[in-house]
Each structure stands twice: as C-alpha cells, then as structure tokens.
C-alpha cells in the first residue's frame, strides 16, 4: 500500500511541477502570430517552391498578411484559384496575373545536333557547363543532364528519351521558375502561356554567327532576319545573332513560323493549318 501511495504521490508531484514549469514557459516564450498567416498558409500549395520570391509558403503568407494590398504578390504554383482564396481570407482585391509557363528554348535533338564527344563526368548540367561547351558543337544548347528535372518540385519537366531534351508538362508546370534558375545555359524561359496554351517562340539560344550555328545544329537560329522583317507587330528583335520574340507584343499570327528557314520557331498547341481549298468548301457545306 505504502509503495503505491508513494508512487502516486511522487508522480503527482513531478507532474504538478512539470505543469507549472510548462505554464510559465509558455507564457514567457509566447510569440504572437497573426492568425491570418496560418489561415493563408493553409490554402497555399505548401510545396515551398519559392516561385513567389519568398522563402517558402509561410514566408509568402506573412508577406500577404503584412502587405496593404496584394499587388505584386502572386503564387505561381496555385494560380488565380489560390490567390482568390487568399484574397477572400484577407478581404482584399486580387490582381489578375497572366498565366506563365516554362519554355525550353532548344530543339537540338540527337538527329539535329550530332554529338562530337562523350561526356564522362558527373551527369550534372552545372558541372558539365563549368567544364566545357557540351557534347555537341553547339556551346549554347541543352546539355541534357536534367538539372531542370531535379529542380522541379511539381514533376512538370522530363527528359525525352528520344530527343534527350527536356519537355514541360503543360498542366503541371507552376511557372515557379526553379528550372530557369537551375539551367546553367539559360535555355529555359518563363513565357506567357497564351490563349488556349497557344504560343510561339524562338527555340534556340545560339549566338554564333549564322554559318557556324547552322554547322552546329540543323534547327539553329541563324539570325537571317526574315522573321524580323515579316513581323507586323514589331515583336521580333535580333541581337547577338539571335532572334527573340517578345511575348507581350506577339499576336500569334505565325508569319514568322512560316518564313523561318531552319524551323527554329515552333508553334505550340495550334490546330493543324487548313490550307487546301476543298477542306474549306466542306466546312462551308457543313455550316450551311
């Protein structure tokens, strides 16, 4: 009996002392946090991709709560859906943002861009790029070792086994920009996703002179200037032997796509062109 009693008493005393200590500790070290931060944090994707420019989702939540308006604050991973929830919680207006997507500006697949040497070091773009120009003659193009794949938190970029080039999964890409930072060759760019995901861009970053670029890769931009001339919207500039399409000015008319002699300007997600007259006739008939 004594034994049980002493056990109960001693445990009770220990428990009581612990409770008192914990009580004072929690009072003493209490940190006040705006409850809004927690609420906002809960609706964020929680992947801590850093695409918003803040250290993780918690950091973004804090910034949203502290800021007077949501101007310039955008969660690329969650998109408008999440941002409107955030705005709802905080009772503020949300700024609409143009949906963006990561675009790989290199089309130099194995057939287009023959390998001239074999890389035998660590399969990392960063290490290969700091060592030398790459396995092909083109020193600007994709190395294909997949640093972008490693960097992606959304599993939205993969290396195509045939072309050895990375491909972006449209629906999964959160346009957080991690791959853009990871690519040592600066090939990946965040561009406007475009209406119905339709977009065109120059799929090359080679700054060598036209003849050299052509020798290095069949689909290189040779800076011939045809696209620049044909563009009616002043959207194309040529600098350092390389054409660039400004996505803010581009109207997706696709004239440049047709004139490009090396097919360096691909069109993405456009329906196939209806060129032959009979097709049009049929369509008219159907309409009628």
């Amino acid at each position: 009996m004594d034994l049980i009693l002493s056990a109960v008493i001693s445990l009770g005393v220990i428990g009581a002392v612990g409770a008192v200590v914990l009580y004072f500790a929690s009072r003493k070290f209490n940190v006040y946090e705006n409850p809004g931060i927690g609420l906002v944090n809960d609706v964020l994707p929680g992947v801590n991709c850093g695409g918003c420019g803040f250290p993780g989702c918690k950091g973004f939540a804090e910034a949203c709560v502290k800021a007077d308006s949501l101007d310039g604050l955008f969660c690329p991973a969650g998109g408008m859906e999440v941002m409107s929830k955030v705005a709802g919680i905080l009772g503020r207006e949300v700024q609409s943002a143009v949906p963006m997507i990561a675009v790989v500006r290199c089309a130099g697949s194995c057939e287009q861009r023959p390998h001239v040497n074999i890389y035998d070091g660590v399969l990392s773009c960063a290490i290969a790029a700091s060592l030398y120009g790459g396995e092909t003659g083109c020193t600007y193009g994709c190395l294909g070792f997949g640093d972008c794949v490693e960097s992606c938190l959304f599993d939205a970029i993969h290396i195509n086994a045939q072309t050895l080039l990375p491909e972006v999964v449209e629906d999964a890409c959160a346009s957080c920009g991690a791959c853009v930072k990871a690519c040592p060759k600066n090939i990946i760019e965040l561009r406007k996703k475009g209406p119905k995901s339709r977009r065109i861009f120059v799929s090359c970053v080679n700054k060598d002179q036209g003849a050299d670029a052509r020798k290095e890769c069949n689909v290189a931009c040779i800076a011939c200037g045809k696209c620049e001339k044909v563009c009616a919207f002043d959207a194309i500039t040529i600098e350092n032997n390389l054409a660039y399409i400004k996505f803010n000015k581009c109207t997706l008319c696709r004239k440049c796509v047709k004139v490009c002699p090396t097919h360096a300007i691909p069109e993405v997600n456009f329906p196939p062109e209806k060129e032959k007259p009979p097709v049009t006739v049929e369509e008219n008939e159907i309409r009628n």
Binding site: V116, N117, D120, G121, V122, S124, A126, I127, S130, L131, Y132, G133, G134, G137, T139, D208, D212
Partner: protein, 443 residues
Amino acid sequence: MLKTFRLGGIHPQENKLSAGKKIETLPTPGQIVIPLSQHIGAPAVAVVQKGDAVKAGTLIAKANGFVSAGIHSSVSGIVVKIDDITDASGYRKPAVFIKVEGDEPEPFIDQSPGLNKNITLSSEEIIRKIADAGIVGMGGATFPTHIKLTPPSDKTAQLLIINGVECEPYLTSDHALMLEKGNEIMVGTQLLMRALKVKRAVIGIENNKKDAIVHLSDLSKNYDGIKICPLKVKYPQGSEKQLVDAVIKRRIGSGKLPIEVGAVVQNVGTAFAVYEAVQKNKPLFERIVTVTGKGIKNPSNYRVKIGTPVNELITAAGGISENTGKIVGGGPMMGKALVNAEVPVTKGCSGILVLPGEETARKERRNCIRCSKCVSVCPMGLSPYLLMTVSEFSVWDKAKSECITDCIECGSCSYTCPANRPLLDYIRLGKNKVQAHGVSRIV
C-alpha cells in the same frame, strides 16, 4: 630523409614515358593559330590586322589591363584573319590566324647560341622586359609573371623557390629542360633573384629526376645563392603552398599567397623563358611540350611554337592508337580534356597526354564507405567526402564554413576514392558557387 610537404598527398604511378628523351624542335606547320587569351586575366587585344606581315617575335596582341600579358607571333608570315576558334573547352574564343611564310625572326632577338651570364639590368628593367616578353607561369597556372615579381609594398620577398618538381605523372618537359638548359635556368633564376631583390634561391626537384638533381647541383657551384633541394616524390608537390611547405616548412594560411611567408615560387620553364627574354630579347613564343601517354607511339619532348595545332604534335610523335579515350592538355591529375585535336598549343600547355579509354574512363560510382582515405590524402587538410555531399545537395553556407575555397583541385581525393566517387567534380562546383556568390573566404 628527403624533404616533402607534411599533410596528405599521394604517389600515383609516375609513368614518365618520355623521360631522358632529348628535346626535338617541331617543324613549323603551314598555319599557326594564336589565341588571344592564354593567361589568367583579361584577354589581350589584337594590334595586327588582316594582311599584316609579322615576324617571329612581333607583338600581335597587347596586354589589356593590369592582370594580362602580351602575345607575340611565333612565326613569320601574313595575318590571314582574326576570328574565333574553338578552344580546348569547345567555346569560341578570338585568335589570330597566321599563314607561315619564310622563317624570319625579329632583328632585335639575339640569335647567338652562347650563354650570356652578365646581368646588367636593374630590378625594374628586368621586370619590364619580362612583362614585354609576355611571360606567364609556365607550369600551367599561366599567371602573368611580372605581377608575381612585384609583391605588395608591405611584403618583402626573402626567398625565391624555383619549381622543378614536375609532380604530375607522365610529364617530362621540365625535366628535359633542366637537363639540357641547366645554365640558362641558373641565369634565369639569378635574373629573377635580382628582380625580387632576394639573395637566396632554392630549386626544388623531386627525387625521381636524379640526373637533373646531379646536373643542377654541379652547375649551382658556379652561381651564388642558388641551392638545389631534392624532394621526396609526392603529388601535389608542385602546388605552390605544398612546395613552400616542403622547402621551408612554413604553411601559408587560407587564401594567402606565398609572399606571406616571404617566398615567391616560379617554375623552371618560367626561369628559362626569363633568361631568353632578358638576355636574348626573345619574347615568349616557344615552349617545351611533352607529348606522351600510353596511346602515343613515341612519347617525346618537343620545342613547339605557340599556336601549333595539337594534332601536329601527335603526328610527329607517331600518331595515336585506335583505342584513344582522351586527349588531355597538361598532366593527368590537373590537365584539361580537349574536345578535339585541332586546338593550338598555348603558353601554359606543358604536355599533351593521350590516354587509352580503359585507363581514363570513369568507373561505376558507389556509395561512400567512409573509409576516410580522401581525408588522409587531402594536402589541404579538408574533408572531401563532406564537401562533395554539401555541394551535391547545394548547402553552400556549409560548404563555405568547411573552407571549400581552400581546395587546390589537385584531384588526390578522386584519384584515391575506392568507391570511384567524383569528389573533385562536386567540390569544384561548390567552390565556384561559393566564390561566385561573393562570399569572401572564411579565415
């Protein structure tokens, strides 16, 4: 007991295939391509134009800025064009293309074969002549020599150390030079001593070059203040910090230069180039290159004009065998793999090494077994296994606090690793990142 450095180090198979071979002069090819960036620092600026006639020794590009060096034509002929050429790493860099016509050196070069031992010039005049001759560190670092000879005003040099270590396997160009041009090296050393205003010089030579040690020791009796220091064979003894530790038992602190302990290190090749520049007015446009490796039929040492394509050297040495895996510019431990054999020989190219595929191909990478062999061979006392891991997972602040920037990239860790881990690849990446982020060295 021979002297050596006291921390880490390895002893790779020496494979000095071309040891004892006389220096042969390589015939001048039909066209020479001289890159404008052959040194650490800003590329030189071309001062010739297409169509200009040049002679051997004509300045074709002048130094651009403080850390830079002039470049001279190595042949007489006509400048064909100034255009980009694919360099060793595949990138395009500007270079001067010269079509060879005749064999006419500049008249100011003293062609007499005799040895000129009279040192008449002052320190400043010697340094100016060295700068004018475009001399850079000939051991491979290619740091402009005249800058190394002008230490900061608050430091004074007390000792000149001449690096005749040649600790890289395979390479024998310095060895051949010491055997054949011993007197010139001695005079060059005295010129450097005069330039630095020091009274003593030590020539460090590894003990696998006994004939060079004996030869230079005999010669050193005729030259005041020059001593020969035989060293135990151990890699990377040719690194400045390790060489200073080996010779005078002083360790240079993290991020500091040898001048910190009163020493200046110069390569024997540099000493020879200094002799030619100062006593014979000859700018740096030739160098000794070892062409060697198990993929080469006749490993040899050549006197080569700067700008000669590498495949000329390889052809002269009997061509390469079928199973060639890699052509390396420099030694097997620190050299750079060449993307093709058309690249020209530059000032810092001490050897062309042709390695068969099976000797050089990387083997399957395994888990780190924590054998700590990388730790025990690291000459800088770092923990390569840890540095690799932090670099692989991008923990840059940890890399910084583990002193990743102290790494001299000697490759001893990767060479030793039983799990074939690419330690240095990742450490070099981390080092670049830490330096690029503007993080100063932690002392």
